[in-house]
């Protein structure tokens, strides 16, 4: 295997391709993944916008700050995880209290 130097984009795309393909293989192997039922697609879209914006603005998400950041004992990532866990828990409970799904 020849290591890559600065070709980050193909590496990232390759990872994404694998990520998308895996569930297909999982389903083909007899696994089952229930489909999500949401009555509020505009809300899903609005929430997705916040997720995408926040993840890039803050330099990481549950994978970047959560798994990789905490695993490298990074203090800034730990603060980021504490922050999104807090806002996530508060938001999810508010949505539930308002009768959301």
């Amino acid at each position: 295997l020849t290591p890559y130097e600065d070709s980050e984009l193909p590496a990232r795309l390759a990872f994404v391709v694998g990520l998308v393909l895996a569930p297909l293989v999982y389903l083909a192997a007899g696994g089952s993944i229930a489909q999500t039922v949401s009555s509020d697609l505009p809300l899903m879209a609005a929430a997705g916008l916040l997720v995408g914006f926040g993840a890039v603005y803050g330099g990481g998400c549950t994978s970047g700050h959560g798994v990789c950041g905490l695993a490298s004992l990074d203090k800034a990532s730990a603060l980021a995880v504490l922050t999104f866990m807090t806002t996530g828990i508060i938001t999810a409970n508010i949505v539930a209290a308002l009768g959301g799904r």
Binding site: A47, L79, T83, A92
Partner: protein, 135 residues
């Protein structure tokens, strides 16, 4: 990038996606049940992932002279700034509403989940807006 590394990287992504599917983390319901403090299964998934990654991060640089796919090991960026906290707060609000974060969104696309697919497209749009006007 050599074809062999490209294929190997696809396999690493597939391993990640397989884990997300198997652990039901591709399902927003599972994530929202955790955030509503009703089901703590997600903590085991995340804790397990962190434990394996931490062991790898600690051991690999001692055993290997360089990463298998890369020329050199990186150090964690570690810089603490306002953006990280503000971005994480915004991310958490969206995550608390839809229960979808980027990796499971991509895996759910492969599973053909239409609702999560909508969220996945919106995540791309949000990331684009960030890069275009707030980068």
């Amino acid at each position: 990038m050599s074809p062999s590394i490209f294929v190997a990287t696809i396999l690493t992504g597939a391993l990640c996606g397989f884990g997300l599917a198997l652990s039901t983390l591709v399902r927003p319901e599972a994530v929202l049940a955790f955030l509503r403090l009703q089901d703590f299964g997600l903590l085991f998934v995340m804790g397990g992932a962190i434990a394996v990654t931490m062991a790898t991060y600690q051991l690999a640089p001692r055993i290997l002279t360089r990463p298998v796919f890369r020329l050199a090991f990186d150090t964690a960026p570690g810089e603490l700034n306002r953006r990280k906290v503000v971005g994480a707060a915004i991310f958490g609000i969206g995550w608390g509403i839809c229960g979808v974060c980027p990796s499971p969104a991509l895996a759910a696309l492969g599973a053909g989940d239409f609702t999560v697919g909508i969220a996945a497209v919106a995540i791309f749009a949000g990331a684009y807006v960030q890069g275009r006007w707030f980068g």
